[in-house]
């Protein structure tokens, strides 16, 4: 029975061991996946909790190139009042305008991978998820090539990596690197570009810019880790 890909409520505190990096990376993927789903009060509360948990590692995060973009996400989240329904409604309107009704930026990989991708990509992704023992949760209602599902998949891989014994890291890193190179990092720049063009000062432009910085950084980092890991 495959595990369901769905947003968790919080990020685990980073242990001071070799898995710390994977936990932090997983936390970011999960946060961005949550933020790129239709905003609800619960999801926003979850995102704030995750951002707070990640914010505890500020000194560590300043060492990463995506830190400035991450700080802007933190600031944007802090500006949203926790109980203000108007803020939530504005966010929902922006989400609908950008991603749902005549979307300026389609939040699905197949929109950016050529005309034929819509036929083969979702099935191919489902197989990739199944190989890792995962499947998109029907409750979330997202297609397999949805941006949130792909981010969530990476979060799940990072969690597996954090919990894996020493000898099993290499295989997981290979899977992560392949997924980033063949899927997420390949099309996400164009998606982020569409969002930035449609609403450059909006909340989602801030989120996708940070997610883009993180994803590209993670592709480099996972590649370096894989090169340095014993097969």
């Amino acid at each position: 029975m495959p595990r369901r890909l769905r947003p968790a409520r919080a990020v685990r505190p980073a242990p001071a061991g070799p898995g710390a990096l994977a936990v932090i990376r997983g936390g970011f993927y999960r946060l961005f996946a949550t933020l790129l789903l239709y905003p609800t009060a619960q999801r926003l509360a979850d995102a704030r909790a995750m951002a707070r948990a990640l914010g505890r590692h500020d000194a560590v995060l300043a060492g990463f190139a995506f830190y400035p973009q991450w700080r802007r996400v933190q600031a944007a989240l802090a500006q949203l009042a926790p109980q203000d329904a108007r803020d939530l409604r504005d966010l929902q309107e922006e989400f609908v305008r950008l991603f749902l009704v005549r979307p300026a930026a389609v939040p699905c990989a197949s929109a950016y991978c050529g005309a034929a991708a819509v036929t083969w990509l979702p099935a191919s992704l489902s197989r990739t998820y199944a190989e890792a023992g995962l499947a998109p949760s029907p409750a979330a209602g997202e297609p397999p090539d949805g941006v949130a599902v792909e981010l969530e998949f990476m979060a799940a891989l990072c969690e597996t990596e954090a919990a894996a014994p020493d000898g099993e890291h290499f295989a997981i890193l290979v899977r992560e690197r392949r997924f980033l190179a063949d899927h997420l990092a390949r099309w996400f720049p164009r998606f982020a570009q569409c969002v930035a063009r449609a609403a450059p000062a909006g909340f989602y432009a801030t989120v996708t810019d940070a997610a883009l910085a993180f994803v590209l950084h993670d592709r480099d980092l996972v590649g370096a880790l894989q090169r340095l890991s014993p097969p």
């Binding site: 560590v60 300043a62 060492g63 400035p68």
Partner: protein, 565 residues
């Protein structure tokens, strides 16, 4: 606001630099600069941000005793302070303190170099996520990465999507990349991030100024050159600009930048400008530097041959610049190709470059403007150097022709002919009779030098020599063999005169309805292919596509499905 932090050890290193005098000059000469002298800055570089002014600067310049080897922790602190680490400029003043003597001269050089670095930092683009690459040194262990060691980053090129024309078939950057790291896939430029050596050749190869490499943008180099030439005191005499390779051996396996710095420290008048790779410097930058007031310009490629195989290209560009200067009546030694040398032969090698002082004496004084050539009112007298507004974009691709026009005006030479050279950055396209004005060449031209325009009477193919990069993509696109020709020629008169008409043809009108349906030249060509006497040829030659079926008995086009009522 720009903060400048100077290591206090520079006071006592070698001949030393009078840092207080340098700080006073910077404060007086450059607006919005906050210089500070920091004790042992080189030893505690990571904590440099503790010495920043309270109102956080947006740019940072460091004057250090030597280039720092590891910058990861420093980058993290700078990032945390709200400054983009890829915009930080580091000036190796130690070389000048140790080698330039006496002390006042070293101080003069220090302030000139700092002024250049401030200008370069201010012109820097804020980096986008696509511009950043993680650097993993060979000695790094997996354990160190996993335990969240500091990471170092460097800039890599990325195409600005709003300016890139890869979707229209342009692949100039990919064709010029010496490592094959760039490719056009589905109309988008893709970079193999691990294969890129950051040479910057793609930046100057792009005819649309779409390739961006933070730290080495044309605007930054231009700002630095302008500031160096402006800030150099009269005591230094005529100044020469020397372009050197920036890399300290990470990709190019040598100490080129360090040896070039050492060499220029001993040569009065030579002001160094570091670029990622000298092969990225197009001839128009060399000429622009001359137009901005440099007495000479030198290019210092690798002494033992560039690993990217670009040494020939550099030598070819120097030869082209010399040919152009000869055509202008200037001494061609103003542009030189030198060699950075290793530690044992620095002095002798730099002497081989010569002194800019000697060359400027041989320069001709600007002559009178030849009014007799034109009935138009006399133009303003020629200026010796580009004025401030002209300097602003002199290194930009779109200003290439403007720089040459300025050189032409400066020497009042209206009789300069075309300079044919295999390294000419400009091309000259000509069209022999037989052009059908199909527009295939204009569609293929990535630089917009060829333009097909339709008006009420006909079609015209224009050619703008100022835009042509001599890429040659128009030639295979032309369906008429032998009609288009391209020569690598810099025709100064053509560059200054604007677009010219390569071919023109009137519209042919339908004999039945009178609507224009084809260009005369194209209709004649098609009719000739079909055979002049055939019915098909007569139909095609006389009637528009809508009238042809009617002429042979088909009913005129109507709606396929009509309402029954």
């Amino acid at each position: 606001m720009t903060a400048v932090l100077l290591c206090a050890d520079l006071e006592t290193l070698g001949w030393g630099i009078d840092l207080a005098a340098a700080v006073a000059w910077l404060e007086a000469a450059i607006p919005a600069v906050r210089p500070r002298i920091v004790p042992a800055l080189c030893d505690r570089l990571a904590h440099a941000t503790a010495h920043l002014p309270r109102d956080v600067p947006d740019r940072l310049v460091l004057g250090l005793c030597a280039r720092p080897r590891a910058r990861a922790e420093f980058q993290a602190h700078v990032r945390r302070a709200g400054i983009d680490p890829l915009t930080v400029e580091i000036v190796d003043l130690g070389t000048y303190a140790a080698r330039a003597h006496p002390r006042p001269r070293a101080t003069d050089m220090a302030r000139v170099l700092l002024a250049g670095a401030v200008a370069r930092a201010r012109a820097a683009l804020p980096s986008r996520p696509e511009h950043v690459r993680l650097v993993v040194p060979r000695a790094t262990s997996r354990r160190a990465l996993l335990r969240l060691a500091w990471h170092e980053y460097e800039s890599i090129p990325a195409a600005a999507p709003d300016r890139c024309r890869a979707d229209r078939g342009c692949a100039q950057c990919a064709q010029r990349c010496p490592r094959g790291a760039l490719a056009v896939v589905d109309g988008t430029v893709e970079l193999d991030r691990s294969a890129c050596t950051r040479c910057g050749i793609c930046v100057t190869a792009c005819p649309h100024e779409a390739m961006e490499l933070p730290g080495a943008m044309p605007a930054q180099v231009e700002a630095q050159v302008a500031a160096l030439l402006h800030a150099a005191p009269a005591a230094l005499g005529p100044r020469g600009i020397v372009f050197t390779c920036q890399h300290d051996g990470q990709h190019h396996g040598g100490t080129r930048a360090a040896s070039a710095r050492a060499a220029t420290a001993q040569a009065p008048g030579w002001l160094p400008v570091e670029v990622p790779c000298v092969a990225m410097v197009p001839p128009t930058w060399v000429l622009a530097a001359l137009a901005m007031g440099a007495a000479s310009v030198a290019l210092l490629p690798a002494p033992d041959g560039c690993p990217d195989g670009t040494a020939d290209a550099v030598a070819g560009r120097v030869a082209y610049c010399r040919a152009l200067l000869r055509a202008l009546g200037e001494p061609d030694e103003r542009v030189v190709c030198g060699y950075a040398v290793r530690s044992d032969g620095q002095r002798e090698e730099l002497r081989a470059l010569g002194e800019p002082d000697e060359r400027v004496a041989a320069l001709p004084a600007p002559g009178p403007w030849p009014h007799a050539l034109s009935d138009a009112p006399p133009p303003p007298p020629p200026r010796p150097h580009l004025s401030a507004p002209e300097v602003e974009a002199a290194f930009a691709h779109h200003a290439r022709a403007r720089v040459l026009a300025h050189l032409l005006a400066r020497h009042a030479r209206m009789d300069v002919g075309a300079v044919a050279h295999p390294h000419s950055p400009f091309g000259l396209v000509t069209a022999a009779p037989g052009c059908t004005l199909c527009g295939a060449c204009a569609a293929a031209c990535p630089a917009g030098a060829l333009l097909l325009q339709h008006d009420a009477t006909g079609a015209t193919l224009h050619f703008a020599a100022a835009r042509c990069t001599a890429c040659g993509l128009c030639l295979p696109a032309c369906p008429e063999p032998g009609v288009l020709a391209l020569a690598r020629i810099t025709d100064l008169q053509r560059l200054c005169s604007g677009p010219v008409v390569l071919a023109r043809s009137a519209h042919r009108r339908c004999a039945a309805c009178g609507a224009p349906f084809a260009v005369e030249a194209m209709a004649a060509k098609v009719a000739a292919l079909l055979g002049e006497a055939s019915t098909a040829a007569r139909l095609v030659a006389r009637l528009c596509p809508a009238c042809r079926p009617v002429a042979i008995g088909f009913p005129p086009d109507g709606p396929v499905v009509q309402s029954a009522s």
